[in-house]
Symmetry: C2
Amino acid sequence: MPRELKADAADFENHFLDLLSSKREASVDVNDTVAEILADVRQRGDAALLNYTRRFDRLELTADELRVTPAEIEAAVAACNPDSIEALKLAAARITDYHARQKPEDLRYTDPVGVQLGHRWTAVEAAGLYVPGGTASYPSSVLMNALPAKVAGVDRLVMVVPTPDGVLNPLVLAAASIAGVDEIYRVGGAQAVGALAYGTETIDPVDIIVGPGNAYVAAAKKQVFGIVGIDMIAGPSEILVIADGKNNPRWIAADLLAQAEHDTAAQSILITDDADFARAVEQAIAIHLQTLTRSEIARESWEDHGAIILVDDLEQAVPLTNRLAPEHLEIAVDDPEPLAAKIRNAGAIFLGRHTAEVIGDYVAGPNHVLPTARSARFSSGLSVLNFMKRTSLISCDAQSLKAIGPAAVTLAREEGLTAHALSVSLRLEE
Amino acid sequence: MPRELKADAADFENHFLDLLSSKREASVDVNDTVAEILADVRQRGDAALLNYTRRFDRLELTADELRVTPAEIEAAVAACNPDSIEALKLAAARITDYHARQKPEDLRYTDPVGVQLGHRWTAVEAAGLYVPGGTASYPSSVLMNALPAKVAGVDRLVMVVPTPDGVLNPLVLAAASIAGVDEIYRVGGAQAVGALAYGTETIDPVDIIVGPGNAYVAAAKKQVFGIVGIDMIAGPSEILVIADGKNNPRWIAADLLAQAEHDTAAQSILITDDADFARAVEQAIAIHLQTLTRSEIARESWEDHGAIILVDDLEQAVPLTNRLAPEHLEIAVDDPEPLAAKIRNAGAIFLGRHTAEVIGDYVAGPNHVLPTARSARFSSGLSVLNFMKRTSLISCDAQSLKAIGPAAVTLAREEGLTAHALSVSLRLEE
């Protein structure tokens, strides 16, 4: 049974704090193993990479066979259901269009004393995209991670994907091809992260590594951070649905289960002002669970981490939502905008009864890589900005330096930095 | 003696690779100590904080005395040199003006099939600012870290600063006051980072922690990352100066030393096409070193990590610069724009002979917190964006869902996620 909390109960705050602080992920410490693998790949390059691939993916490769060939990609695309290829192309076009609007503007201006200032955005040169193998190998994730890099203008986009026992999802290759991935290597795990960070004889190093992975991949990304950039380390997925009693309970039940089916550690929370509706949703969940492919996972997630919060008025949901800072927030009411305007912490907001969160997972356009575990308090979903960086630009002439230089000399002297002071004062003496 | 490299020498590439990969920082592993301190602060709150402050700062405080009072701040401001206060105010006004131009735009549009899309930026609610104590306690850093948060619209800006033996730089308090810091606590080290991340009886927790610190502070920030956001972990400072032979060697020598005086691990590199000029700069450095307050530090940095690279043509500096990805880049030539346009990786570029890098440390306006250790390849300086986060907005009605929903159902089924498919297909059946 999921937790049930009533916002007007005397012990609500304690139960809510409990919900906020509940740890859903078992943290396994794989840091030492990962450090060894990374050091080995750094030192021995391809030889280490091939060795780990033999060991972990049961796959005997030579260095020449690491890269997936254009012929293999073509064959994969041909093997896919044409409807699925069309669906991927629709998704790719919409994701590209949305992300193109995130491209930041350069800045250049001259201030009143004549100092020329500005900034310039440039794309990262090379990006690595980690794609998990096996059942968590999602073509939609390939699009969501690769397309922001392409829109940013990354020159070289390199994908790594493990192929345990040689098996690779053809639709993942099709998605990579549609997204314009430049190189694909059939390696995974910490060893693939090491290859992207340090480079090997076959794989040139990249500047940033993004994409989801298991505990080994996450630990490897953390360890190479600094040598390369990384995206955030994603935790289990979450949804918060704010719904009044006028929703179809079957729809809301499906939304809650769509999150729950990802992972037993996923979390689905419903906030409603209608106890009867809450009951109806619970019943609909029980019925849906009878037919879902991943019902065991979904059931465990819902029973262990799910919650229903009853409030007197949906306005009460606002501060609770901001404290939960959910990855996904659905606001299923007739007029969602006034509530949405008061939400400060959420990765993405899905407005109105027809906007299933799932639409954002695939085809809406915004990124589905979003901050989890309350990190929407301080971070944002994956975007074009992750693949760009900003350079400040400053230009003084003799005249404008006279206007602001003396203050710099004063502060440098206060900080005891006499070479700093000298560097400006010499130019002021001229 | 700094290294000297000639770009046309046969072994140049090896020497340059050596320069790129040289580690300047001794890494001390303080992770276990820091983990203990953090756990203690998390569990015991103020009691732990006061205990570590007694131990590390030799300061006996009660919880009531943790916070710096308005009267203390006023007294500090009154004790400062009025010229220094004026210089700080000039700097603050210019930093505020520059950063205000970084504020990102919200987005809202309806696409051709009727889906409403967009994003909204909001400020982080509470930010913590770490300020080192002792000699590295720089008022300029207070402005550079605090003002982007204020411009972003952060509600609550909390500063922590250790006061070893009770000593606190009055100009640091003045800078905090000018920058609009809301709360100041006289604590430092890993214990202060823990207090900001977890909260104590006296200090409410924040959502993001920024600011420089020693190895303990850096390790603590890394360990609390995820619970709160953090800025980048800064390494030792660096400058790369591209200069032709028409510069005053004393100016360029001072610029190289201004970086070197920060830290023995700092790095100053000169790229020039004029061997005589290089010689003159070296001589000017020797002369400047005779009078600088921090000449021992500057000399050690220059001798151990400094470098002069002789090129035939300054165009050759472009690919070298992009590989070095320096924190600071000066381009000291008559017409710096064509060279600057080709630089992709640099934290900040200082254009022309009069733009001493130091001007950017204090009063130019752009932030002086910039990516070090080649991370300008993938990251940017501190900005208003560090204190804001973006929420995606998606809204479908029945009609627009019909346009894009079927593709989502197709992809969900391909990924084996039947609850995902159900969540959309139920709404399409309507």
